[in-house]
């Protein structure tokens, strides 16, 4: 049975490494600051005791005030899963570092978020639209999108 890691435990683990990183956590997910994303990703993936080597899912949600990018990370050996979130608050400059360097599986998922929600991932090897055509304007999954 998969162990869903309590957000409290993950928050404690991350805070022990990077005291400034965690913004808040509820019973499901931990929200971290975007500038710590790569460091936390490196820690979660490469720490022997954690080894979150499998990016299960990556998506984003438009909450009007901010965009939330949601990472579901799994460890196949230890059968654990956790939810990590990062927020982008500036609607005019939506940027996050890409995690393709750690999980190659993020490639298409980040492109999809870029395509449908308009968040740019810095350092992505091939960031362009994936489902819609190149000269399409707008990002349909944004809440303000009107046809």
């Amino acid at each position: 049975m998969t162990v869903i890691l309590p957000a409290q435990d993950i928050a404690n683990l991350i805070t022990a490494q990077f005291p400034q990183a965690v913004i808040e956590f509820d019973n499901q997910a931990v929200v971290i600051k975007s500038e710590f994303l790569l460091k936390v990703a490196d820690f979660l993936k490469n720490n022997q005791a954690l080894s979150f080597n499998y990016l299960t899912d990556l998506t984003a949600v438009d909450y009007y005030d901010y965009f939330e990018v949601v990472y579901h990370l799994s460890s196949l050996e230890q059968n654990k899963i956790l939810t990590l979130k990062v927020r982008c608050c500036d609607r005019n400059n939506l940027q996050l570092p890409s995690v393709t360097h750690f999980w190659k599986g993020a490639d298409f998922m980040e492109r999809e978020i870029f395509d449908l929600l308009g968040i740019s991932f810095l350092g992505h090897p091939n960031l362009k639209r994936i489902l819609l055509w190149e000269d399409f304007s707008g990002h349909p999954l944004r809440k303000y999108y009107l046809q």
Binding site: M1, T2, Q28, N53, Y54, L55, T56, D57, T59, V61, D62, V70, H72, L76, N79, T83, W103, K104, G105, A106, D107, F108, M109, L116, N126, R129, I130, L131, L132, W133, P140, L141
Partner: protein, 368 residues
């Protein structure tokens, strides 16, 4: 003596019989060898995630049919399990068993297409796939009996099933279950040690263990690379913890292993169906009372199930209204394509068709 060659770009697809839908491979060729490849898709994009934001939770079910349309029953189940978890709905015992039976039959039907189409890509044109379609028809007949549809069932609903199965379903199911092992043996006799299949697929398109994990591959593609990972075992949903079955894995991670893992999985699915028929209560409710408009409490869920092609996950954010605030689909077909470039580069064009076919994708799920 070395020949000077000039590289050129070759478009394979989007409309080509061996791309299994509208999929395009932009291949840079050096003679017959592929040196670079870019998968291009989106031709079948219908905006299902956006459409779902304007539909009720029951109204989304027909949309899930149109994800991977070769395994609509499994998609219905995956969606309903996510909604049930989110809204706290219990499912009656008899419905759980029928769901498992249908989902496993769907797995067999989908794998039959995958294996048959792979042989088609191999050059064994039409003969093997017709043998496979013959058996798939019998499973589709069962689905038609319960839902009236042959492809887009919309039969599994939050809280149970649309209606009980007709009286003639169980005898017909029993006949299919009794006959199938014989046909599996027939396939093995035809194909398992077939010289053409072995020569074409052994050692071709290897996906290493590390690469499979790193690229978020799932389902038979992941298992063929030697990783024993099946959501039915790792994170049991519905009533899968009540059944005995094995998780077959491959060793090499080549095209043959992906084919062979599917053939073994079909036998395991049949084992589950047999056990479910044995354990299923003869009568009882098939649907709990759920409100006509489901309003799950504010919250979010990531729910995953093992569909024929891999891990199908739904990330649903609810704002306590009748429609989801955000409905994200994690399709196994899309993510299994992430490793496509690395698997194909260095192989000849005829092998590329086979490697692509061995991943077994459905464009409805890639493009959504």
């Amino acid at each position: 003596m070395s020949l000077n060659t000039e590289q050129f770009i070759l478009n394979i697809g989007p409309s080509h019989p061996s791309t299994h839908g509208v999929f395009r491979m932009k291949a840079t060729m050096d003679g017959e060898v592929i040196v670079e490849l870019e998968p291009v898709f989106g031709y079948l994009h219908r905006g299902i995630e956006k459409l779902a934001e304007q539909r009720t939770y029951t109204g989304i079910i027909p949309l899930t049919d149109r994800l991977d349309y070769l395994s609509a029953m499994s998609n219905n189940l995956a969606h309903c399990i996510a909604v049930e978890k989110l809204a706290g709905i219990q499912v009656p015992e008899r419905a759980e068993y029928l769901r498992v039976i249908l989902a496993e039959l769907q797995r067999i039907a989908s794998h039959l297409i995958a294996a048959g189409a792979l042989l088609n890509d191999c050059g064994a044109f039409m003969t093997p796939i017709l043998y496979m379609l013959r058996e798939r028809e019998k499973i589709l007949d069962l689905f038609e009996m319960v839902s009236g549809q042959r492809l887009t069932y919309s039969y599994i609903r939050p809280g149970g099933l649309a209606q009980d199965v007709p009286a003639e379903f169980l005898p017909a199911l029993q006949k299919v279950v009794t006959d199938l092992p014989h046909f599996f043996d027939e396939y093995d006799q035809l194909l398992k040690e077939n010289e053409i299949l072995l020569a074409r697929s052994k050692g071709v398109g290897i996906l290493t263990r590390e690469m499979a994990i790193n690229t978020s591959a799932s389902g038979p593609v992941l298992r063929a690379s030697g990783i024993k990972w099946d959501i039915r075992k790792a994170d049991p949903y519905s009533i899968y913890d009540r059944f005995q079955f094995e998780v077959p894995t491959g060793k090499a991670g080549d095209c043959y292993d992906r084919y062979w893992v599917r053939m073994l999985e079909m036998r395991q699915s049949l084992r589950i169906v047999e056990q479910a028929i044995q354990q299923m209560p003869a009568a009882g409710d098939i649907q709990t009372k759920v409100p006509a408009l489901i309003r799950p409490p504010v919250g979010e869920i990531y729910s995953r199930t093992e569909v024929p092609k891999g891990e199908l996950g739904f990330y649903i954010v609810s704002d306590n209204s009748i429609a989801p605030y955000r409905y994200h689909i994690r399709g196994p077909s899309l993510l299994n394509l992430t490793a496509l470039r690395d698997m194909i580069v260095g192989w000849k064009i005829a092998d590329a068709i086979l490697i692509f076919g061995s991943i077994d994708i459905c464009m409805g799920e890639v493009d959504r």
